[in-house]
Assembly symmetry: C2
Homo-oligomer: 334 residues x 2
Amino acid sequence: MSNAPDLAAVKGYLLDLQDRICASLADEDSRAAFATDEWSRNQPRASAGPALGGGGRTRILAEGEVFEKAGVAFSHVTGAALPPSATAHRPELAGRPWVALGVSLVIHPRNPRVPTSHANVRFFSTTGPGTVEPGQSSSVPGQTNPVPEPAPVWWFGGGFDLTPYYGYEEDCVHWHQTARDALAPHGTALYPQFKKNCDDYFFLKHRSEPRGIGGVFFDDFSALGFDASFALLRAVGDAYLPAYQPIVARRKNTATNDTERDWQLYRRGRYVEFNLVQDRGTLFGLQSGGRTESILMSLPPLVRWDYARVPLPGTEEHRLHTDFLRPRDWVPES
Amino acid sequence: MSNAPDLAAVKGYLLDLQDRICASLADEDSRAAFATDEWSRNQPRASAGPALGGGGRTRILAEGEVFEKAGVAFSHVTGAALPPSATAHRPELAGRPWVALGVSLVIHPRNPRVPTSHANVRFFSTTGPGTVEPGQSSSVPGQTNPVPEPAPVWWFGGGFDLTPYYGYEEDCVHWHQTARDALAPHGTALYPQFKKNCDDYFFLKHRSEPRGIGGVFFDDFSALGFDASFALLRAVGDAYLPAYQPIVARRKNTATNDTERDWQLYRRGRYVEFNLVQDRGTLFGLQSGGRTESILMSLPPLVRWDYARVPLPGTEEHRLHTDFLRPRDWVPES
């Protein structure tokens, strides 16, 4: 079956993507390099529920000149039973064995003029009874009347979003333009849809505030069949560096000061709030007995909270709220 | 009914408790004072579900010499329908109108040798159909055959727990001894039970690690009837200062250094993780459309996260894990 899920191909792509992203970011930083932490978990954790397997290759750059903390993680994990957080939209899959492969990254630059970025690309598949094993047909041997293929039980997801501390129109336009252009060959309806997904998802409910200026985001995606869906995933994964690196290069040497640093640390608090209170990936990871250090590598290196802090009107900090942290159409849809 | 819930008495006690605690902590700090932020919410928020009312008096001390951030909040809030997070143990109450009064505090000292402390005392009551309004009998006018009183739909909760960055046996013993002695007049079974509640509750599941060295904690408490339950609440509320202040006084001038400061900031990350991922009060507040700034005043002023940080064996930081962050019987049970 030419259009059957190909786990090995996905894995190969993801490992290469991680390599390429780390190499480019390390180039951008003149001081620090990525350290690699390979890990595996082949035994059930005492306190976790179902057995878990697999492992990962977490890469962390800490205390760089440009990047205060950059984490780029590949993981390939399996579980004996899907936890509720993963199956909110597909309750019929609860409790099934599963496999998940992905690259997830969060980059926290040192200079407040450089935005934080997040990206991930992932493949998810259940492997339970009555489902199609990746690479297998669903025909049951010995069954004389073939039944229709069951609904797909694999999907892709991913995207990238940008979180500035100080707003630059041209950076936001470049970010969204790169996303739009990468998606265009796969369907012009995708960018507006994925952009809206991103705006909807990265929104702090308890603050009534977007996390940043968005980007693109998709999940539960199998609509194009495996080959074309995988090509879409690659388009998104491959677009991250061209979207982010020019912004880093343009802003990393901007003069800054303690006031801006303080604002950056304060705004990073919103990132923590989103990831720990709302993020599906984080909650899925923690609920499924995932590897805490890898899941929480997204948290910023240094963060501050202040009570009822409000920027003064007329300042750049205030302009971040009024001009950037609201849903905007940064580029024409196609 | 002499044993009927007395909302006004609870409110009076809580406001006075807030005054006393703030005055004593301000005395302990030679530089900063508490600022008071009175707030109210008498209209439904656009994005929240059911209508919310009430208000509060939040007091914050920021950038003190002894306390880097101290928040002591009184609130008296009402809602038209109980959210799920408040009714996990009492599903029959979901959707009912409610009123909640409480004092909640978190103290983040500057010196890493002084532990962080948290306390809260609260009263909760539903006011919906079929329930007993505080201060009213449940007899239905005109009904000739009085039915038995329904199960209590008000309760008290509260407690206090301590989170050291460096362990001192004598501080932990003093903390638990004060709690035990305060509870003893209300029943010798209470301390062991409330101590266990606290150990069970303040445990970071995803770290398999206690948040600190515990204390006492209780919830859904109405077992002694209103008067005696309220007396128990006061015993807990009144014990907080005698439990904490001597520890602050003893440690606040201890010499410290950047390594210890760094460790404190790192360990504060656990506090954030607990409050945003697990804490019932935080989740209840955010889910019920509560006032975000008051709810999140518990978050530390400055926090750091490091990937896979493990203290070296033989250090005091390592000893915190091995000797203090594990369930221990700090004092004899009675």
